[in-house]
């Protein structure tokens, strides 16, 4: 196949792929939307318990993770810019940096969760059962929301690793980068959700 008629031969439509990714992001937003709805209802019912709950989280760890995710969001956007400018090496570096940031985020999360478990605070534990209603709901939401978010981080990492390999083998290049674009969009989504999770779980008092 010659390069001239590549569009007709491959049935390729990048606009369609991108629209598809955006629609998928909509479903993800509403998936978390359901959780935010539950959060806001229970928070309105038990403001004091939620306040006490948020005091038990470390703002520092949360802030570090926020910065880490924001930074990774920028690096993946830069990877796209680099790819569009045909700078393969920089694009790969930026994807790797994003992945490293993701790992840092997860390690942070691991220690945060670990500390909670260490204090006997985990779903189904005896301590949880003793908590007041609102307090209990706060930690239920905390564990569930951060776990679901962490799961999305892992999915995003897998997607970015696929992208990285394809960039390496030149299957993603300066004239065909929609997969990188979609991977980046997904990664931004993960960041977007954290932007709301951070103040709602760690800050609001």
């Amino acid at each position: 196949m010659s390069d001239t008629n590549i569009h007709t031969e491959e049935h390729r439509n990048d606009d369609a792929s991108k629209l598809g990714m955006w629609l998928f992001i909509f479903t993800e937003l509403l998936l978390f939307g359901g959780l935010f709805l539950v959060y806001s209802i229970y928070r309105a019912q038990y403001p004091h318990n939620f306040h006490e709950g948020s005091l038990e989280l470390s703002v520092t760890i949360g802030a570090i993770n926020t910065i880490v995710l924001l930074f990774s969001s920028m690096t993946i956007a830069m990877a796209l810019t680099a790819m569009q400018r045909n700078n393969k090496k920089l694009a790969m570096t930026m994807i790797v940096v994003t992945l490293v940031m993701a790992v840092v985020f997860l390690i942070n999360k691991y220690f945060e969760w670990g500390a909670k478990f260490h204090h006997g605070l985990y779903p189904g534990s005896d301590l949880m059962a003793l908590l007041e209603r609102g307090h209990l709901l706060y930690f239920s939401l905390y564990f569930f929301m951060t776990a679901l978010h962490a799961f999305h981080i892992i999915v995003g990492m897998v997607l970015l690793i696929v992208v990285l390999l394809r960039v390496k083998s030149n299957r993603i290049h300066a004239h065909k980068y929609v997969l990188l674009e979609n991977g980046a969009l997904y990664w931004h989504l993960v960041d977007l959700i954290w932007i709301f999770l951070f103040p709602l779980l760690y800050l609001i008092s």
Partner: protein, 94 residues
């Protein structure tokens, strides 16, 4: 038809957006450390809204996408806000 309309965002723009986002993060931490009662939530959510607007516009290139897509994204947020509001009609009057 595909690809050629893509906008390329400059590294400088991306860096600047990141700096603004970090600034907003510190702002929201410092503001919420004061006790402003009900305003705390409002302010925190407002700042989060601005941050997500920046991420959507610049990192996700929405600023340079078609009008259609921008409308669709706003519809999703409006729809969600409506659902929350309506649910609160139940909970605030019980």
């Amino acid at each position: 038809m595909a690809n050629n309309s893509s906008h390329i965002t400059d590294y400088k723009v991306l860096t600047r957006v990141l700096l603004v986002l970090m600034f907003l993060t510190f702002l929201t931490i410092s503001v919420t450390s004061y006790n402003l009662a009900a305003f705390t939530v409002t302010i925190a959510l407002l700042i989060a809204g601005v941050k997500s607007f920046l991420v959507l516009s610049y990192f996700m290139h929405l600023k340079y996408e078609s009008l259609l897509l921008r409308i669709l994204v706003s519809i999703v947020f409006v729809l969600f806000a409506l659902i929350v509001l309506i649910t609160f009609i139940d909970y605030s009057y019980r």
